[in-house]
Every structure is written in C-alpha cells, then in structure tokens.
Assembly symmetry: D2
Homo-oligomer: 290 residues x 4
C-alpha cells in the first residue's frame, strides 16, 4: 500500500524502514534533505494516488501547521493520520475541521521507541471504522507479529487517549523499578544488584521489557555513575494526571512519578526552603545557607 509519511526523525525514519521492509511504498517528507524523498509537501501529495493516506510524525508543536498546510493540498476522500504526541483533546476539533474538506482523520498512539523498527510498534487507533479499515495494511506493517500490539480503541481521540494512559502507566512502572533500585543501592544487604535484576528477568512477577532494559543499562554502567538523575517529560504524564483530576480518579502513583520528574529538574526546592525556614523559626534548627 502507498503511504505518505511526514517527519523522518528518530521515529518516522524507522517506521519508513519497517514499512518498506514489509513491502509498502512509503514516500517520506522531512525538512532534512538527507532523509527526505521529496522536496515539499505538495510534491509529496502529487506523488500519492488518491485516495491518499498521509501519516504525520512530527514534533508536537509542528503538528497543527503541518495539518493546516497539508489539508490545503489534499482531496476529498484522503485520510490524515497523526501518529505524534498530540493531546487527545485536540483530535476532535481537528477531525471536524478536516471533515469539512471531506478529509478523514485517525489519531494513532505509537509506542516502541527505538526498538520498534525491529520489534514492531504498538498502535492504538482512534477514528471511524471505515478509515481504520482502509489503513489496516499500514497498521499491519507497523505492528509486531502476532495477535497483540494493535487496538482500534474508539472514536477520534481514543488513540491518543490510550497512548496517554499507556505513558502514565509507563511513568509509574519506571518509578517502581527506580525506587526498588535506589533501595538496593542504599542497603548493605544485597551485594550484586545487576545479578538481582537478572534474576527477575525470568520466572518472576516483575518481569517486563522495561526490566530487560534496566538490566541492559546496569550491564553498561553497574552503578549508573555516568548519568545524572534528570528526566524530562513529554506531556502525556501531565495529561494523565490532569485527566485524573477532571474525572475524580485517585492517582497517587502516577502523580508521584510525574512530580519526581519535576523535582529532578530543580537545582533547589523552593518548598524545602520553606520547610527549612519554618524549622529554623520554631526550633532554631540549623539551616544551610543558600
């Protein structure tokens, strides 16, 4: 099947490779001349036979302008797919805007990171059934072998929503391992931490792909000496907790994981300055000067 793919960064580049390996014709566009197949969006559109399917895989801040430009070039019956990290709440207005031009829209949450090219990508899709069915060959090419790794999660927005929850869970899981790792590091009992992680990789209740990666990371750097305890967040964690607030869902674990990332980016904690100030005020407790 023919696919236009806009955005050939870390994710898009690998997706093109996987799709081509599966026999699909992918025409990619990127502003980096080294990787692009065409020199402009209009050339991309020209090269695709209608009804076209164009998958957008660009950094989230470029998604709206890309869709705006693209929608001026496409024809009724074409389908736009956003596979990037858009907030789910943007999908329905976007789909309605595109529908006025006769264009279909699917939102697709994509998980898999740099491993997806080899292992396949988990895909969570939101949109109308007819659009999903039309694009199914592409999804088949991207998803892993076997019965898992794909869901038509619901109407427009459901794909990004499912991916958002996926990432919220990811935050919590990563932090659970991280807290366990820190406790092992702090304790005098366990002498061989990487061995312990290896012991969990088969037979245990906590076996997972993240655990495999943790073991890999410890093999490369057994005390993680080469790293700083610093982590960005890409939005989905924040949106997950915002949704928990909107829907009155208690979410202590994922929220704590998110807050830990915020804290990891602070040079000093204003809140703890306030605690230090209070302790000094009432108890004359020693403070550290700033």
């Amino acid at each position: 099947m023919q696919l236009g793919l806009i955005g050939l960064g870390r994710m898009g580049f690998n997706m093109r490779e996987r799709l081509r390996a599966a026999g699909h014709e992918v025409i990619g566009y990127d502003h980096h001349p080294d990787v692009t197949d065409v020199s402009s969006l209009s050339e991309l559109v020209d090269k695709l036979a209608a009804p076209r399917v164009v998958w957008i895989m660009v950094p989230v801040q470029y998604t709206e302008p890309t869709i705006d430009e693209l929608s001026g070039l496409l024809s009724p019956g074409d389908i736009v797919i956003d596979g990037g990290n858009s907030r789910f709440s943007n999908d329905r207005p976007r789909a309605e805007r595109l529908a006025t031009k006769g264009l279909g829209y699917l939102d697709v949450g994509v998980s898999g990171g740099v491993w997806g090219r080899t292992n396949g990508y988990a895909l969570m899709v939101g949109g109308e059934k007819k659009h999903v069915e039309h694009c199914m060959p592409i999804f088949e090419g991207l998803k892993p072998e076997g019965e898992f790794g794909f869901a038509h999660a619901g109407g427009v927005g459901a794909g990004h929503y499912a991916k958002m929850v996926h990432n919220g869970i990811e935050y919590g899981m990563m932090h659970a391992y991280a807290e366990g790792y820190e406790l092992l590091e702090a304790s005098e009992y366990v002498e061989n931490i990487p061995e312990v992680f290896k012991s969990w990789r088969a037979g245990s209740v906590v076996q997972s792909w993240l655990l495999d990666l943790m073991d890999r990371a410890l093999d490369e750097d057994p005390n993680l000496d080469g790293l700083r305890g610093y982590a960005d967040d890409t939005g989905e964690g924040r949106w997950t907790v915002e949704e928990a607030i909107r829907l009155a869902v208690p979410m202590n674990v994922i929220a704590a994981s998110l807050f830990a990332r915020f804290a990891s980016r602070q040079d000093d904690s204003p809140a703890m300055k306030a605690v230090a100030a209070l302790r000094n005020q009432f108890g004359g407790h020693a403070v550290k000067k700033g």
Copy 2:
C-alpha cells in the same frame, strides 16, 4: 539430587512437582496426610542421606518453630533453606544459631506464583558461596530455562531482601496498571478497554507479564464486575517501606501502592471522617451521616 521439602501448600507442592520432573529425589513433609511423603520431620530427616539439604516452604508464622525442631534432628554439615516469606532481618540471627550446630543456612526469595511449576521460579539466594554451590542442582531444577531467573544476591539475608524489594516493585507496577485501568474506565474516550490492554502486550514500552495477566483477567471479566476492590498484603510491601524509612530513601510510589491496599480494607476512612468534620465546622458543608 536429594532434597527434603517441608510445606506442600500452593507453592511447595508445585515446587516438588517441578523438581521431580527435573529428575531430583524430593521427600516432602506436610501436616496434610494427603500430600505428605513422610509422617514426621524425624522420618524426613532419617530418609535423607547426609549431608542433607532441607528446604522449608511453610507460612511465615511456622518458620521459626519448624527450624527449631528441625535443627534438633539434623547433623553438622546439613543445610537448611528458608524459601518462605521471612523478614530479611530474621535471617542473620537464624543463620548464627544454626551455625553453632554446624548447620548451613540459605535464604531464598521465590517468585513465580502458581505459574512457577510450568515457567520456573525466579530465585534470589542469600548465604555463603559454598552452600549455594552445594545446592545449585536444586536451584537449577527450580529456575526457568535460560540465563535469567537466578541470583546469588549476597550473604545471609540478601535473598529475602532482594525478594522484598521485588515485591515492593510489584506493588508499584500493579498499581500503575491499576490507575491506568481506572482512568480508562472513568473516561468517555476509549470504548474498548480490553483491546487497548491487548495492544500493549507487544511492541509497547509497558509490556510485561503482569500486563499479560491483566489482559487475561479482562478477558474473563471485562469490567471486573465480579471482584471487590480489596487486597491483602503479605508483609514484603510493608518491609520495603520500612527499609526506605530506615535508609532515608524517598519512596512515594511504592508507599502509595501500599497505602492503597490498607485503604481497600477499610469500611470507612477515619481520616476522611476528620476531613468531613472539619469542613462542616468551618464552612457548614453538608456531611453524610455515619
């Protein structure tokens, strides 16, 4: 290799089966006449050739009395293994006590649940190298195929310590999935929650064995209608947080998971009664009568 195995409950029974299937001679003792191979501890000891290895797999409250009785029957050079859920802090005193009688001691954390018989058990072992080496054939018989699923974690206590941390991580992981599930349940976006869990089972960052089990549970009962939101805890989660407190390790995620279990067992929350009382006092906010 010959092994005495005390305790043939859910775990011990399956372990005997797996070891026998691997060609080991297991003599099991249990107070249930249907499953036991011998009628008493002394008969068990008599049937084993010295140097004996005796694995104890009993509910934690019976571990000390069992070891006491057993240590009166064994001979210098024999090895006692505790594979139950003992608190790691009990291991060193126990090992010292046994050492005065010339008995060796290994503490083994065992993970795998009801699936271990088929898949193998993850084993985390604490104790002296010579004792570990002596018992290695047994460990080989219990652990999963392949390079993972076994660690000699350190000296006496390290096995139970590693298992404790394992279970703390397990609490956090389970709760991360659980919060994600609840958000999907609460939201109007995703129509097909079991499908979404299936999509994560391959290719995604959150794939894990627990996820596979969650999918299985949703297949059996898509809205979990047949369950109450109630969960016991078996001690390791509490000990993990206690250790975090002792060692000044921040542990918001695992602690929140533990506290959620506590809350799940309360008919009503005394803390929230206090909050309701306060809101009524200052704001005249309506309260619900008890």
Copy 3:
C-alpha cells in the same frame, strides 16, 4: 460606603450583616424573596449612586450569566467584584470584556466560612490599584480587625489565584490532621484522643484554627461516629494541582489530599479491583466477590 451585593446565601448573607454592622449601606439582591432587598438586578443598579460597586457572591455556575446581565445595566466607571469561587483563569478575559464597557473589575478570594461574620473574612484581591483603593472601605469592613487578613495580591486574577493556593494548603493541612487522627484512633497507646488535641491548642507547633475546630468536632462527637468519611471538593484543590502540573511544581502532599477526597466518594475502587484481579491471576490469592 454604598455596595450592591448579589447573592445572599451562606456567605453573602453574613457579609451583608458584617458590612451593615460596620456602617456601610448594603443593598442586597437574591432570588429568594425572604432575604433580598430589591426585586431585580435593574432595581439594584437603580438604587446605587454612580460610580457603583457591585459585589457578586453567587455559586460559580451563575457568575458569568450574572456578570453578563449586570454589565448591561451598569455605567462606565462602575466596578464589578467577583468574590465567588471562580477559576482564576476566567478573570482576565472577564476583566477585558468589562473594560470595553468602561467597567472596572476586581477578583476577590474570600476565606472565613461561617465564622467570617464574627471574626472577619480574609480577603485576597486582584486588580488595578485604583479600583482596589476605591473599594477599600468595603474591604476594611469585611476583613478582621488588625493588620492581617487583607492583601492586594496583584493584577486581575491574583485574588482568585491566591485563594486557590490557600485552599490547596487547606486541603493538605486538613489531611495532615486527619492522618494523625486516624493513627491515634488505630493505636493502642493513646487513651484520650480529644484530650491530646486539646493539649496541642496552646504552646504546640501545630496550633491552628483548624485544630481548634477539630477539637470542637471531637467535643461534639468524640469518635466521629455520626459522620461518614466523605468529602466533596469545590474546585480550588483541583486547580491547585493543575497549576502544579502546568508549572512543573512537585506537589505530592496537596495532590494526595485531593485524591483522598476522590476516593472518599467511591463505593468501590476500580484500581483496587485491578490489583485484586492481578493478585488472583499470578498468586491464586483469594479475592472478594463484587
């Protein structure tokens, strides 16, 4: 000074009383005929001499329609005050809309609950300095005696923002007392819990007005037997955590207090159902049927 006051519920009624006691002329409007001074908004506006000051103290869902109607009746130079629980983010658009008609706008966070009539209300004001100065006699009449209880927090929105943070802190403080109360309840050590709360009311680091109210509540119902552990939330707690997310501020304490309220309103926890399902799947742990 003359004031129009719209909304004579629990808060507005008491505020009118306090202002009248302070010598101000308050003309109140409410849809309840028993408490209103005028029969319509237009009559209210007619009775006030320009430049008018009209304070709106209505449930948050009625604020926008009330302002819409009112702004059609007022004259350039008049000032509208919103003293209700509006989200701070609504204030700037509202002020800009009113400014096009020559109307001033102040947002005022009001704390004090049912006790404000006697003790005075803490007031946090956002808006232009000239508007604040014009309304200062009213603020003086509402605030407590002495140097505290009033702030011009900043431009439009700052008053509601400060009140939002105030309520977030309130959530955290209440929950700190609540957790302490629950621990005392659960423990076998302290025999006389109300006495302990009394001991903290003077000399201690945790003395506060909320503590006084807690003591009062325990005097009325020493075990809080007459209450259910159920608490609503009025929005400010949610907005506080949303702001923490927007601004990357770690906020574990206030978020946990908010999540506890959410949990207090659930008959059963979907998340804990998921945990129960998982434990049953891997360990054969007993579950409670729904």
Copy 4:
C-alpha cells in the same frame, strides 16, 4: 515544687527559666559548667528532697545511659520523667525496669521550640495517674496559660506517642504551606507573596502559628534566597509512618512530607538515574552525564 532537671540545652535551659519564673525550685545538671547548678548527677540527687522528681531533657542517644546512672542514685518513691524525643516503644520496658527499683516513670512529649519559654510548652504525658498528679505543679508551670496545652494521654508511652503523631502532623502541615509557597513562587499571577501570607494570618481557614512563622521568615528574606532547601528529620516523622505501616493506616500526606526531607538531603537521586537510564534505553532520550 522542687525539680531536678538534667540537660540544659536549647530546650532544658529555657524550661528551667520558665519554671523558676513560676516559683519552682529547679536544680539543673548539664555537662557544660557554664549552665549547670551542680557538678554531678549524685550531687543533683543529694540536693533533692525525697520523694524526688527528676526530668531528663537530653539528646535521645544519652537518655538510656542517663537513666541507668540516675536509677542507681534514686530512692524508692522517686519519679523519673523523660521529656526528650525517645521512641514511644522504649517507654514501657524502661518503666518496668525502673519499677523494679520502686521508681515511677512518666514520658512527656514537649512541643513549643524556642518559643516555649515565653508562650509555654504543650505537654503530652504518659504514665500512671498518681505520678501525673504528683508532678502536676511542674506541668502547670511549663504549660501555657489557659485551658489548653496539657494532656494526660494515657499509660506509659502515650506521651511520646502523642508527641510523635504531633510531629507527623507538623511535617504534613509544613509541607502543605511549602507546596503552596512554591506554587506562588512559580506562578506569574501573584506579585506580592509575603502580602498574601499576611492576608491569611487573620480570618482565613489556614491561619496557624506555623503560618505566622512563615510570614516572619518571609519578612526577613522575601524569596528565601539565604536558605538551602535542606531539612533534617529528628525521628518522629519516621516513627509516625512506621506506625502507620504497623497499623495499616493509609498515610500518603505525612509520608510524602517525610520522603521530601529525605530527597532534600540527596546530591542526586539514584531513582531518577534509573529513570533516565530507562528512557535512554527505550527512547534514545538524551541523558545528562553524571
């Protein structure tokens, strides 16, 4: 009334002053010659008329040796008071040991910090009624004026238990203010943070003594620039959470406050290193080098 007072540090010194001002005869002992009234414990005991009351107010690590030495010098009928930060669980064994020598024992939680000399100290007392009654004049001299600030909380241990819970609550309250402060700092809405804190000091729901101190601290250093966000913990917070674990009490707020203190003392977070390692492994996300 006559009192022997051992330990004349920040707390003990001020307590001696307050008691003397109230007309009591206090004989103080400290190893610092500048402040002590006697040169040895035995001289202290000699100068007191039987039945003696001796109050110990030493750093917690010296409490047991002090009691050991003291109990060899006292006579049956004398009473020992521990007013320090002992763990409640030490009180009953200690009382039983002293009882074998005919000595009474009271454990007293003391709150008030450096302000207690002027304002009085909140006292939470555990022990037998007859001992409490005997020492009541001393308690009256230390506690604040008025009906509050003293409780006979229960039997031996109840005083330290109540003080422990008090400090747990204190952690939570301080952190609630601290999180609110940090949000105000981070936000663009509120221009005058110290003014906002002042507005809360009267009329508001969050008024408290800690708030007064926070305002005082902001007066001295409006942005807390002179401080580092670093806070020790003196044990009671840890014990509070340990008790929550023992008694299955959900305690997210106080635990989060405690964990924030732990984090404040780390140069880098091992847990966040693990998170960074995982993100790098699966997503190729940039990491900061250690």
